[in-house]
């Protein structure tokens, strides 16, 4: 039997899902009778809610959307016999999603509006940086015979950059493109840059928290798995403010 202090000490571990299976099971048993731990776990989960989005998005393969929708709707048709099917189906439909918390068409319209607002907000944010940029930096890129460019719109008021990379082929197998800040204290890792010759890659970034003043930026192609330390790969572009 573990003391309560053990559970207090391991709340974050449990919320992050990194406990060993036995400890996780003990924690779950403890939660059934401990309101304080339940509340704190809820707070931790809320704080870390977006952490999974640290993993880069993976575009779905063709046909996956259709398979998901069919899988979901097929499950809906198999609602338990104990429920009144029509009422349950209606309630499930109405309940799905924060954007659908109201009723019927109004809820669905709110959700559609929310999706569009999110898209517009992301684009407006990027455009606002470009519009307010006090400096625009440009460098040619060449990779595997393909030619492209790195463009940085630097908004010095908000200390944010919109970065555009175009014309680069997808990184060779086992490698990836890495954006760097050149700071007083050396190179500080920025975003990774997925690339396609078909369309430009854009992202908006703030300045790094460490490294001192930012003096410039660079783009390299790094070996996959080299997630820390200085650049090891070939430098494709180098820009100084």
């Amino acid at each position: 039997m573990k003391p309560h202090e053990w559970f207090v000490e391991h709340r974050v571990d449990y919320a992050a899902g990194i406990l060993e299976a036995d400890d996780a099971a003990a924690f779950e048993a403890h939660l059934a009778g401990c309101e304080a731990c339940r509340q704190e776990i809820a707070r931790i989960e809320a704080d870390l809610a977006w952490l999974p989005m640290g993993a880069p998005p993976v575009p779905p393969r063709p046909g996956l959307r259709r398979r998901i929708v069919e899988h979901v709707l097929d499950g809906r048709r198999r609602v338990p016999a104990w429920a009144a099917p029509a009422a349950l189906a209606a309630s499930l439909l109405l309940a799905l999603g924060v954007g659908w918390m109201a009723q019927g068409q109004r809820a669905s319209l709110r959700r559609e509006l929310a999706v569009e607002r999110a898209r517009v907000a992301a684009l407006e944010d990027t455009l606002s940086v470009m519009r307010q940029a006090g400096r625009v930096l440009y460098a040619d890129l060449e990779m595997g015979g393909a030619r492209g460019a790195l463009v940085i719109f630097a908004d010095e008021k908000t200390h944010r950059w919109s970065v555009v990379v175009h014309g680069l082929p997808p990184a060779p197998g086992g490698e990836r493109y890495q954006f760097w800040f050149i700071t007083e204290d050396g190179m500080v890792r920025g975003a990774q840059v997925p690339a396609s010759e078909d369309r430009p890659m854009m992202f908006t970034t703030g300045m790094p928290e460490r490294g001192g003043s930012v003096m410039g930026a660079a783009l390299t192609v790094e070996p996959a798995g080299a997630d820390d330390g200085p650049p090891r790969g070939k430098q494709l572009a180098h820009l100084m403010l």
Partner: protein, 177 residues
Amino acid sequence: MARDEQALVELVDLATPWLLGITQAMLQDRDEAEEVVMETFRTVWQNVTPVGAGPTGLMPYLLRVARHRAIDRLRSRRRRARMLAAAAGEWTGASAAPVEPDEAGRPGWQVHTRVHAALDALPPDQRAAVDLAYFGGLTQSEIAARLGIPLGTVKTRLRLAFARLRTSLAGLKDWVV
């Protein structure tokens, strides 16, 4: 197509790349990641109530369900004593490049960059522990074995890292409303 079915399609379009991102990073298996994502949508569709998504919104709920299901799969693998063999030397890290291009216009991209910035701000040893534990799905003892460091050191690094991440990420808002 019914309006709610259309809404489901839009939600799938919006959330699937991010759900695949975390599940594929953890499972290192595209087919299995797709299965987890399908199960996640079905679970949410069947179980979410107006308050079921919790105070943080729908997208964190989807992410949490997907990640927990991926953890379940990893535990199942461990029971078959295959986990370490599958992970050894193959896992490419939380920040592995996406398979296809992306852009700032994708809903959620700003959240991704904010989370990445928070991860990048961690000291390298803490970042490595978080990558292996949170995005790689390894247990603390597996991380200790893999990095060749004491279990207590792993626990300390993770505790410090998650404390920093809580502070860094607490202000993020749900972009799916």
